[in-house]
């Protein structure tokens, strides 16, 4: 879809004091809103209006941080509106597809048995369902490098745990709702842990510390303990154990 003179009035503008302008696409479909938010962020990032400090895509809006000493929300709103008609979610688009190895279950995925029983599936069926879909990184957030990957199989739809864990080990793979996350760091967290991944979504020693970007595609394949340890050791030694495939396609 495109932003045009018929639908441009559905875009809403909100304030986060003198620090942020929020451009909301909540009146569009969920799927369009997320892509519109991201695309607007890319458009503004490539050609920053005066006083722009940062852009943060959300699930249905874009937060634009600005410097009120050099611009104003009124001027910034005009700057943003000037590029709005360039927004086109259908434009051909290059994206990265990550195929990530996961060691499912056991000590690495202690919630796998519970996820299986609550979904009425065997553990193997959970793994099959989780590796079947290609997910899309909707937004980043919570921790440096944490990607919210949407598109998990409906059969695995579960809420977050009612009482979050105080300590989730780094590189844990969790599922909740239609999403998957990989914890880049040890942290508290409430997602259902079903495996662990031998790649580091965040590594401050890397030239580019953050692995994933919103818009990336991600799919998973199962590996065993031995393969996990081999890849983990390689990753620890600084090797890029997984490189994404670059795909030209539609959004």
């Amino acid at each position: 879809m495109k932003i045009n003179n018929q639908n441009i009035d559905k875009i809403d503008y909100m304030s986060a004091s003198d620090q942020g302008l929020i451009v909301s696409f909540a009146a569009f479909s969920d799927a369009d809103a997320i892509v519109l938010s991201r695309r607007l962020g890319e458009l503004l990032g490539a050609n920053p209006p005066h006083g722009l400090r940062d852009v943060i895509p959300g699930m249905n809006n874009l937060l634009i941080h600005y410097d009120s000493l050099v611009t104003s929300q009124q001027i910034l709103t005009n700057d943003v509106q000037a590029v709005m008609l360039k927004l086109d979610t259908d434009a051909s688009y290059e994206y990265r597809h990550w195929r990530l190895p996961v060691c499912y279950g056991g000590e690495y995925g202690e919630d796998l048995p519970e996820v299986a029983s609550r979904s009425g599936l065997t553990e193997d069926e959970v793994i099959t369902r989780h590796t079947r879909n290609t997910l899309t990184v909707a937004i980043m957030g919570f921790l440096p490098g944490l990607a919210y990957m949407k598109g998990v199989d409906d059969a695995l739809y579960l809420p977050r745990r009612s009482s979050p864990r105080q300590h989730v080990p780094a590189l844990s793979l969790g599922i909740a709702m239609d999403q998957t996350v990989i914890y880049p760091l040890a942290s508290p967290g409430g997602w259902n842990l079903i495996g662990r991944v031998p790649v580091r979504p965040f590594d401050s020693q890397r030239d580019d510390p953050v692995l994933f970007r919103a818009g990336d595609r991600v799919s998973f394949y199962a590996i065993d303990d031995d393969e996990y340890r081999r890849l983990d050791a390689a990753a620890l030694a600084g090797e890029a154990v997984i490189t994404p495939e670059l795909i030209k396609g539609d959004a």
Partner: protein
């Protein structure tokens, strides 16, 4: 050695600077010093660039040894002191907002703060640790910046940047009146972005009742205690970006003000947002203190931000030579001079 060695780190001391804006789309918090005004004034006092890395001391209780001669200043507290001790045990107290030149080997202590929750110690040359995305600021929850992404510990050694003690006299600056601990002016907010998700009564309550600061307070946020703010339906929104000063209200109706190390995105309604000029004031509030919110427009908030910037610049321009410290060592022949 061009270093300081931490003797006692205190409960919550960290390396801070302006933070690392521009990477929140990757989940990297902006972070940075809670009280920017005090960092700027401190750096001006010791002859540093505006944003040189400083020590942010929450609650107090820090002591360290200087590995080489440096000029230091404590800001963000009016009655806090830098207590200086030499090798003979002789002690000298230096008031805040006053620079002091110290020789190598001096021990510097900041006792528990009594008038402010955080204070800043600026040291000539600035703290020098490995930068990430151009900033040395520590965000402990994200485990980035500072020393290994954590708060300082006893025994840590911190490198200092190249700094020379200029031959200018030790200088002093008056604190900004707007942040003085006696100043009970309301915290100004702009309503929204999700104020329409709250009842009319909740909106009225936010700006007409006192809220008390609870001890649940860290660099990510401060939880308040006071009348519950009722949602029209529920507290959940599709996750979106957050600015420092957002007043987030989860399902229990109890507001939390998000501070510099807040997560980059969140899924709770935000009833209002503190204006940028009042963020340093938040850093100084202490648990148990009451605050009152006042709603203003975006245009007013922007005008206040510009006035506030002018006020800090004017304040820094009033920097003058400080009167001499009483030097008991010289008077009584004890110890050696600072």
């Amino acid at each position: 050695m061009r270093q300081i060695e931490i003797i006692t780190a205190g409960p919550h001391t960290s390396v801070q600077d302006y933070g690392r804006p521009g990477h929140q789309a990757l989940g990297v918090p902006e972070g940075g010093v809670l009280d920017r005004d005090s960092m700027r004034i401190g750096n001006a006092l010791v002859g540093n660039d505006d944003g040189a890395a400083v020590l942010e001391v929450c609650l107090g209780g820090l002591s360290f040894t200087l590995g080489h001669a440096a000029r230091l200043a404590l800001t963000g507290t009016e009655n806090g002191r830098l207590s200086i001790q030499d090798s003979t045990g002789f002690q000298l107290d230096v008031p805040s907002y006053r620079a002091v030149d110290l020789k190598a080997g001096r021990q510097v202590r900041v006792n528990m703060l009594t008038d402010s929750n955080t204070a800043v110690i600026a040291i000539s040359g600035g703290i020098n640790v490995h930068p990430l995305y151009g900033s040395m600021a520590t965000s402990p929850n994200a485990m980035i910046g500072g020393l290994d992404g954590r708060l300082l510990r006893d025994g840590d050694r911190l490198d200092l940047g190249e700094g020379i003690i200029s031959d200018t006299p030790e200088m002093q600056i008056k604190p900004l009146p707007s942040v003085l601990s006696g100043n009970s002016a309301p915290i100004r907010v702009v309503m929204g972005p999700q104020d329409q998700r709250f009842t009319d009564q909740a909106i009225a309550t936010l700006t007409s009742h006192d809220y008390r600061l609870t001890p649940v307070l860290n660099r990510m946020g401060m939880r308040l205690d006071g009348p519950v703010l009722e949602h029209i339906d529920n507290a959940d929104i599709p996750s979106d970006g957050i600015v420092t000063g957002s007043i987030q209200v989860p399902g229990n109706g109890i507001p939390i003000i998000l501070l510099a190390d807040h997560q980059t995105t969140g899924g709770y309604t935000k009833i209002a947002t503190v204006i940028s000029a009042d963020l340093p004031k938040l850093a100084r509030l202490r648990p148990g203190q009451n605050i009152r919110f006042q709603a203003i427009s975006v245009e007013e908030a922007e005008a206040i931000a510009r006035e506030h910037e002018q006020a800090i610049r004017r304040q820094i321009a009033t920097m003058t030579a400080a009167p001499p410290l009483l030097d008991a060592g010289a008077l009584y022949g004890l110890g050696d001079t600072t």
